[in-house]
Amino acid sequence: MNSDRTPLPPSWFEKNVGGIVRGLVVVCVLLLVADLVFHFVGHKHVHFDWEAWPGLYAAAGFVSYVGLVLTAKQLRKLLMRPEAYYGEAPLRPLGHPAGPDADPDGDTRAMGEGDQDERDQDAGDQDEHHRDAVGAAGTEEEE
């Protein structure tokens, strides 16, 4: 998207994704080690016996997360509908959401009109109603 624009130079984050991930893995391993050490050396304050098993919370976090995300992904098959399902025009990026009236700096017409058209084409699967609505909204923005 927005191929007509030269990309901004990569940020620190973008250059270091690999490092951040490696750091996360290292911290996770350290946590497990700390948990094991604490389990045999220290005294855990727990409400249930099973809570004290070393690595239980790590497993709970990982498994819950994967289970949640994959289940939700399957739910899409059942629940997902087009944006215009309720007969309302879906929200499009129409320049300023609050309108020029509420803009203190008088700037940021969001992206240019070109982007607007591109987005509309992306949403090509939408029905007639939607396209009309976007068209009408587009003229309002011209004012």
Binding site: M1, L8, V25, F38, A58, L94, A133
Partner: protein
């Protein structure tokens, strides 16, 4: 000066904002903006002059009302409502018209006044006022963005109808409660206190977004203006949490209800594309933790619920403010259209991440020191299943609010946005909220001192080694799971679509059925009318000759409360029927 001080002394908390809001339309420019921010600050100072134990009353149509009751429970909610109002007013300084400012002040003032209401009628009045005043925050979206007019109008109507329905239940319940107990006092009642208690419970439950009554939150909040969503998310649902804590602490039914609230909205949050709607689902999940705490009802649990509500208002406000700033600058809030914004909005990114860590209950931030109280209370009550559900939900929060919101907005794929950083006033509001999120996390004792049971809270240590370790494990391994799913390419992509939820039933399912039934009923009535002409004339003749004397069965006087009850009931039914049939209410 003395005159004003005397006047202040007769005021109830929030009144300053309610009355002061009326002046806003007459002020212009900077004066108006300064006044809008000053008003909630003065109101907060006024509240702080009232000591715990302060009470004030009034009389309405012969009923004595307890308009003001300041105790530890109402005070902590009153204080955080004021802080939220101040932050919201700063955040909304870019708004040039007066409607949003007045709406915000009246809405916040009404929520504060309701918090301090000592009787059910005062509560009802301000309960309804919060609904009536806040709908303008949704409708204003259509005013400032004309292409959005129809959509805002419909969303606002749905919001208003559900809010008012909750008020009708509350009023009906209050009157039944009065008939049974002879008292309108709003205190701990429980479900068995009277025939009215269940209606009051349901009225609170609607606004606290109980499962299957939850959908108005996700439906309405994301449709409001940039600042309107922040305002809406701060008050109504937390007022309901306060009311539940006041009236139904220890009601065990709340434990499964709350557990369901923590778990099921997060599935929707994972696949939702509108980032403010993701946060509305997340709001529902957070309310669940509070509801569980109230259901357990021990001192620790009530402390936990109140503390979590306090922290929640601030970090949820912060997250919604950061998303509002993104909407304000880019014009969109869909995950499928966002990404890479950390390059152009670095400060907003940092504030959003602070909010995300706070809601995930990362050690060092506010969510950690408050949610742990609720979880400890569940542990002490030895509720194994609920404990497991809350752990699952905690990992879930880490996904949708902790990772999805900041990652897909500010990082992920750079979509080429070239926008300015958020305006200064928004950065100030976000900065203050972020400061409070960190402050509460680092020094929880200030918050703990405000809790309903401060002595117990003073002995509570959130930063206990086991707890810090286990929470870090839970969150970081959830983060690891995210990385793994992304690397494997199985994390669900952000798609421009909507997901069906319970609102389908009243937006798609019910209207044709109701219209059909209404049509049939009209037809049946007509047929009945013509068919019974003879019989009716006969009855009329009998009635004319043998009419009941005054004092007979038909002439019996009704009590005022019974009349109001029936009127409320009939109006409620009419409202629902009209809603189903009216094309203006916008149900396709």
């Amino acid at each position: 000066m003395n005159f004003f001080l005397d006047l202040l002394e007769t005021m109830f908390p929030g009144e300053l904002m309610l009355l002061g809001a009326l002046l806003v339309p007459f002020l212009k420019g900077k004066l108006r903006l300064g006044y809008v921010v000053l008003l909630p600050i003065l109101s907060l100072l006024h509240l702080l002059t009232l000591d715990v134990g302060y009470e004030a009353g009034a009389t309405l149509l012969g009923y004595p009302l307890e308009v003001v009751r300041v105790d530890a429970l109402s005070r902590i909610f009153g204080i955080v409502f004021h802080i939220a109002a101040i932050l919201c007013c700063i955040y909304a300084l870019h708004v040039k018209g007066w409607v949003e400012h007045v709406s915000t002040l009246v809405y916040a003032g009404a929520a504060i006044a309701a918090t301090f209401a000592g009787d059910l009628i005062t509560l009802f009045i301000f309960w309804e006022l919060t609904a009536l005043s806040s709908v303008f925050l949704i409708w204003q979206r259509g005013v400032v963005q004309p292409s959005h007019r129809e959509r805002s109008y419909r969303a606002g109507m749905r919001y208003l109808i559900i809010s008012v329905a909750s008020g009708v239940l509350l009023l009906g319940g209050a009157l039944l409660h009065y008939q049974d107990t002879g008292s309108l006092h709003f205190g701990l009642m429980g479900l068995d206190a009277s025939r009215g208690a269940i209606f009051i419970f349901l009225a609170f439950g609607m606004k606290a977004a109980f499962p299957l009554m939850h959908n108005w939150v996700q439906d309405a909040y994301p449709e409001a203006t940039v600042s309107g969503t922040v305002v809406l998310a701060s008050f109504t649902t937390k007022l309901a949490i306060y009311a539940l804590a006041r009236g139904f602490a220890g009601t065990e039914l709340l434990i499964p209800i709350g557990a369901a609230m923590t778990a099921f909205p997060i599935f929707f949050a994972v696949i939702e594309n509108d980032m403010r709607r993701v946060l509305a689902y997340s709001l529902n999940n957070q309310l669940g933790f509070m509801v569980v705490g109230i259901g357990i009802g021990t001192e620790l649990a009530i402390n936990g619920a109140a503390a979590h509500a306090f922290a929640h208002i601030l970090y949820k406000g912060l997250l919604l403010m950061s998303m509002g700033a993104v909407l304000y600058r880019t014009g969109t809030i869909k995950a499928s259209e966002l990404g890479g914004l950390h390059k152009s909005m670095p400060m907003t990114t940092v504030f959003c991440i602070i909010g995300a860590l706070a809601i995930s209950a990362f050690p060092g931030l506010s969510g950690f020191v408050t949610k742990s109280m609720v979880i400890s209370a569940v542990g002490e009550a030895h509720l194994t299943i609920v404990f497991g559900v809350l752990l699952f939900a905690s990992a879930g929060v880490c996904d949708h609010s902790g990772i999805k919101i900041p990652f897909f907005t500010f990082f992920a794929h750079d979509q080429g946005w070239r926008v300015k950083e958020a305006p200064k006033h928004m950065l100030i509001a976000m900065g203050l909220a972020a400061f409070l999120c960190i402050g509460i996390g680092v020094a929880p004792s200030f918050l703990y001192a405000l809790l309903p049971y401060p002595e117990l809270a003073a002995q509570y240590h959130a930063y206990e080694a086991t707890h810090v370790l286990t929470m870090l494990e839970l969150l970081l391994f959830a983060g690891l799971a995210f990385v793994a799913l992304m690397k494997m390419g199985v994390y669900p992509p952000e798609l421009p679509a909507l997901n069906l939820d319970f609102d389908w039933f009243y937006r798609k399912g019910a209207p044709p059925v109701v219209r059909e039934v209404y049509g049939l009923a009209g037809y049946a009535r007509e047929r009945l009318w013509t068919a019974t002409l003879g019989a009716r004339e006969a009855v009329r003749d009998i009635a004319k000759t043998h009419h009941e004397p005054p004092g007979g069965r038909m002439g019996e006087p009704w009590s005022a409360s019974a009349t109001t009850l029936w009127a409320a009931l009939i109006l409620g039914i009419m409202l629902l029927l009209q809603y189903g049939c009216s094309p203006a209410a916008g149900l396709q």
